[in-house]
Amino acid sequence: MTSEVKIPDPIDLDRAEEARLRRVAGLAAQRTTPAGEYAGFESVGLPELPPQTERERQVYTLEEGEMLVNMGPQHPSTHGVMRLVVKVRGEVVTDIDPVLGYLHRGIEKLCEEATYTTVLTYVDPMDYLSTMHNEHAPAIAFEKLYGITPPRRAEYIRALVVELNRIFSHSLMMGFLALDMGGITPILYGFINRDEIVDMLSAISGQRMLFNFFRVGGVNWDTNDEFLSRLGTWRGNVLKNVEMSERVMTDNEVFRARTIGMGTLSGKDAIALGVSGPNLRASGVAFDVRKAHPYSIYPELEFEVITQAGGDSNARYLQRLAEVKQSIHLIDQIIDKMPHGPVQAQVPGIIRPKPGRAYAAIESPRGLYSVYAISDGGPTPYRFRMRDPSFVSLQAIPKLMPGRLIADTMAVMASFDPVMGGVDK
């Protein structure tokens, strides 16, 4: 090594690289076309797009006075990366085409090469605001495949963290709903609520967001002192905190004017569209997977399915508020009834379930989240399919928005609470 090493400037490296690539592609070494064109496309041509489908033609043909506005993948107020191509006439929306796939990570295909325990870590970042639910459904499916039941204490702990997750996911949704309409305070209250719960969950699982907590056959760690003390403190404060956020939003005149009557989805339409969870219940249909097809310990807990009449954004907001209170009530029952015992069944590190199929559906904060797993007897699943509720709820947006103003698009979408991680898998 000489004492003077000249590190080439990255710009020079880029230019040299581009010159070599152009020579490889058979072009002249220097560009003669204006900046902004990709080198090399002249030789391979632009990609051919498949022919337009009927719906595409419907959306992308502009009539007199219409304009396509791109609420692009980078929005300032976003639920992830999604592109909404909105066809507007003035301020009125005439059609919407959601373009997805910006966050697609190929999780389903990845999981076919991962052992069952690893799959549980891969599914965490799908719907990253309700991580415990993402893990719960595959855990149930794999336990069905493997033929074991987790111990009672594990089931209770699962239910506890799942309800905690539901509370903070709903708090965040309420904050994002206000934020998308310009209210800058409720989001911070939502994050205060979330922080308390997340600190608690980090005491039990070691992570703040992508809790790698569930295992096939139970949960990974038992509750510890710090978790229990934080739980106690939180439980003492939570109703006051919820009431604080509620006060800023529920009776806020402008908020009510912006949400009442907006994005009204009837129960029939909601079922046809596949919408589930709080969105469906806000339209009056009493379908809650925890009651409809009970799983885990929900048969032992006392609760009722809450619905709202109306199906507008305000109803969806009120529904989530009511569900937060219901979850707090459920957590009280869980804490009362929690038995002692082991928290994980004896399961080998790499499980090889017998060949079979299993389907498990749970109620996530966004709706019905289900996993369809096929095992071929090997260490990895043969097919691992997740059905994410935000993915399906997103179809409601093009149905609801035409005839409304652009400003409502964001507000109505926020009231459906999609999370792009789940939509794009």
Binding site: R20, V44, L49, R55, H104, H293, R357, Y372, V392, D424
Partner: protein
């Protein structure tokens, strides 16, 4: 293969799916009003596909799984968007990932991959490097063409030699 106790399974052939699902949905005794999931399974490079529907009814305690068998060589299935509008995204995803074509679907285009993508990622015979080399961007992106990799750049000694290497190679 067995199936889990709280699901009832029905296997049908692909072209009868609309008829079967319609009966399941409309019959008041059965009343499977909610389409919980529509998924596609690939059983191997020489085997068939399967389109799997999971349905929920409030009159029956178990989930119902309808497995519709689809030919691999000619993967056409009628669309169920007439029964459930919400199946549109599911069918788009099945087309995008598996290449199953749904007859009668008004909007059968790719949903996750870019519109000019040419293969179907979740098939069992999908290979990523082949696909990339075959893509329309081949020839431009050096990582997809091993002959364009400049291994000398990976050496410890950086210096004017790097640029000379880049200029000299063809």
């Amino acid at each position: 293969m067995w199936t889990d106790e709280d699901t009832v399974e029905v296997s049908i052939s692909g072209d009868r799916n609309v008829a079967v699902l319609q009966v399941l949905r409309d019959d008041p005794e059965l009343n499977f009003f909610f389409l919980a999931d529509a998924a596609a399974v690939d059983y191997g490079p020489t085997e068939h596909f399967e389109v799997v529907y999971h349905l929920y009814s409030d009159r029956h305690p178990a989930w119902l799984r309808v497995r519709a068998r689809v030919n691999r060589a000619d993967p056409h299935v009628p669309t169920i968007t007439g029964l459930w509008e919400g199946a549109m995204f599911h069918e788009r995803e099945m087309y995008d990932m598996m290449g199953i074509l749904f007859d009668g679907n008004r909007d059968l285009r790719r949903i996750y991959m870019s519109p000019d993508y040419r293969s179907f990622p979740q098939r069992k015979d999908f290979l990523l490097p082949d696909d990339a080399a075959d893509s329309s961007a081949a020839g431009v992106r050096p990582l997809e063409r091993p002959e364009t990799w400049d291994l000398s750049r990976l050496s410890d000694e950086l210096g004017p030699g790097v640029l000379a290497n880049a200029e000299g190679e063809s």
